[in-house]
Symmetry: C2
Subunit: 378 residues, 2 copies
């Protein structure tokens, strides 16, 4: 691990000045003979450019940071998987920050932007506090926020729309003839919980169903909690014929309980999850789920950031990624082609609604493929 060669080393060996070496290495016009000498010396010494020194001079690191609460979370992972290739294609490295759901860590990340070790940042904040906004407005590098940012903030912002997503699910269930549609939600003091509760109320109204408190059960966003909540709801309303669960884990818990209770899914009770994680496709019966477009949000965020890095200034943009209903066996049954088709039509309409310019079918197919991943390594 001896000190590597620098342009000075090369210059000496080639008998030229460091300026010439630099010019050759950067392909600037140079006499053929000089090029030859420099290249030869560089090859012999196994020279590699020092990225740090380059960055210091050029004020560009070719690195971008992605900050979220936890790498293990499937929603963030879906984003990461879209962000990475977009950045890579543009020649940027990805620096990962896991803030462990600690707000102070998020502020830290924003602060460290000032250290200029990255050219830009994509962040998924847990919630946006005053401190966030302050740091954001003072940020010395472009930032894209995935989540809710107050109007008028001077940053690019990419959002999901879980309220509409809930609507898609309710519509779907209603079309299938379900009339006693229960909701298993997470805590109402969380952003997702509140949005979903509101969406549920409104969607019921939209399809002309009454809102019945007995059909709503609050738990938390985990499988065990989901089991518990569904058990309670089932005791209260034995003839519930559909369950909308605030995420896929809750829905898995619901499947557990329904199975134990001897209810058939979807014949007796249809079940819908949210987030459309890998688990939804893996479960049995496979789970109909509302995709909130984590993957697409990641992709859009990366593209917005690149625009700013390459283009320069423009007005901050707000992109809302539309939700999409992914119908699987837990509502349609594998043998219900009619429902499936209706659903497909809807999903398509839905996708067209906000017509994001980015969603190619090829990219989407690829994503699905990768998701399955060659598992193990030896």
């Amino acid at each position: 691990m001896a000190d590597g060669p620098t342009i000075t080393t090369i210059a000496e060996r080639a008998g030229v000045s460091i300026a010439s070496v630099s010019r050759v290495l950067n392909g600037l016009p140079t006499r053929q003979e000089t090029v030859r000498k420099v290249m030869a010396a560089a090859d012999e010494l196994g020279y590699v450019r020092n990225a740090v020194a380059r960055s210091l001079k050029s004020r560009r690191t070719h690195q971008v940071a992605f900050a979220m609460a936890d790498v293990g979370n499937p929603a963030y992972l879906a984003m990461l998987r879209q962000i990475q290739p977009v950045l890579k294609a543009a020649g940027y490295r990805l620096v990962l920050h896991s803030t462990d759901a600690v707000v102070a860590d998020e502020i830290d990340v924003l602060h460290s932007l000032g250290e200029r070790y990255v050219d830009g940042l994509i962040m998924v904040p847990l919630r946006v506090t005053e401190a966030h906004l302050e740091m954001l407005s003072a940020a010395r590098a472009p930032v894209v926020i995935i989540g809710q940012v107050p109007e008028g903030s001077r940053v690019d912002n990419v959002r999901a729309d879980s309220r509409t997503g809930v609507g898609l699910a309710i519509d779907h269930l209603h079309l299938l003839g379900r009339r006693r549609i229960g909701m298993i939600n997470g805590p109402l003091d969380t952003v997702p919980g509140a949005a979903r509760a509101a969406g549920y109320r409104q969607a019921l109204a939209d399809v002309g169903l009454p809102y019945d408190e007995d059909l709503v059960q609050i738990g938390d966003f985990y499988r065990a909690e989901g089991r518990h909540a569904v058990t309670e709801l089932l005791a209260r309303v034995p003839d519930v014929d559909a369950l909308l669960c605030a995420n896929d884990l809750i829905a898995l818990g619901a499947l557990d309980v329904l199975r134990a209770a001897g209810k058939r899914v979807p014949q007796d009770v249809a079940v819908v999850g949210m987030d459309d994680t890998d688990l939804a496709a893996a479960s049995w019966p496979s789970l109909t789920s509302v995709s909130l477009g984590s993957a697409e949000r990641g992709k859009v965020a990366a593209e917005l950031l690149l625009e700013r890095l390459q283009g320069g200034d423009r007005e901050p943009r707000l992109v809302t990624v539309p939700p999409r209903l992914v119908v699987r066996a837990s509502t349609a049954g594998e043998s219900a082609p009619a429902a499936r088709t209706a659903e497909d039509r809807k999903a398509k309409e839905n996708r067209d609604v906000a017509g994001s310019a980015t969603g190619s079918d090829v990219a989407e197919a690829l994503t699905e493929l990768d998701a399955q991943g060659k598992g193990s390594l030896e």
Copy 2:
């Protein structure tokens, strides 16, 4: 986004030299009055140290790279989740490289080590070629390889032992009284495929069962391929009473086919997967799976790298992480409370991995919270 203040700006404003500013910022002994002036100026200007300039001088970037084939792969993700906190605690940032299973990209990553934008590298190569070894021996920064590296290579190496892992599964199935144990493997020209095939043969011999070619079916490491392979095997050997699948996805495919064929799991056919991904716990029936210790391999790799970064030279080390059988319903049945309890205990151990120093109950609760993900964000 005006140019940020530098120590020069501060020096001017405080009326001192840049050396004094630097000393104050680094806490070197300085007159109280000077400290005050410098701090005041720094605060007013909102100064933040430039990490690039620092790195140039100190020859330390406080960044470490992690390179693997695909972020979306659960096995790599499990590693990442352990690596990240270890590095973060030591003050290192994590740079992520996804090589998309392209060998040239891996070589690229090794090459780019010379650019000195990171202090070290953890890599999970697909396979180790001559080119890899060459680059490794010339590497100008410490590298830890997760996977198989030839004897005598001068790098730290962390391995799984899938051969023994297969043995665990066969033992388990044999103990449960299964005698016609099929194997659904991936391609034999992959490192995992070959190791598992060998393990299967030997494990059968160890428990005194004959090797029967009809019981072996080669497919690929995906769910659909798994379905196909299991269908073939089932046609050939209708009375097979157990299936060992080379990864969890294949096992999920097996569950699909067995269900469709009217076979009960585990009563008629017991199923075992490998890798113990999230999917194993989520499926129904939940899947007994051989954990190859991805999480632990990640943790060990990170620790080895840190040792080298902080400590300095020592002999390269080889650590083999033992496999572990995680028993769930697909072999034990839900009605086997003993097995279930064993499983819970095991899951906890797994979370603790090698007893991370941070494992307070609160931290654990928080981690758990995140892991499940308040999946979606609004």
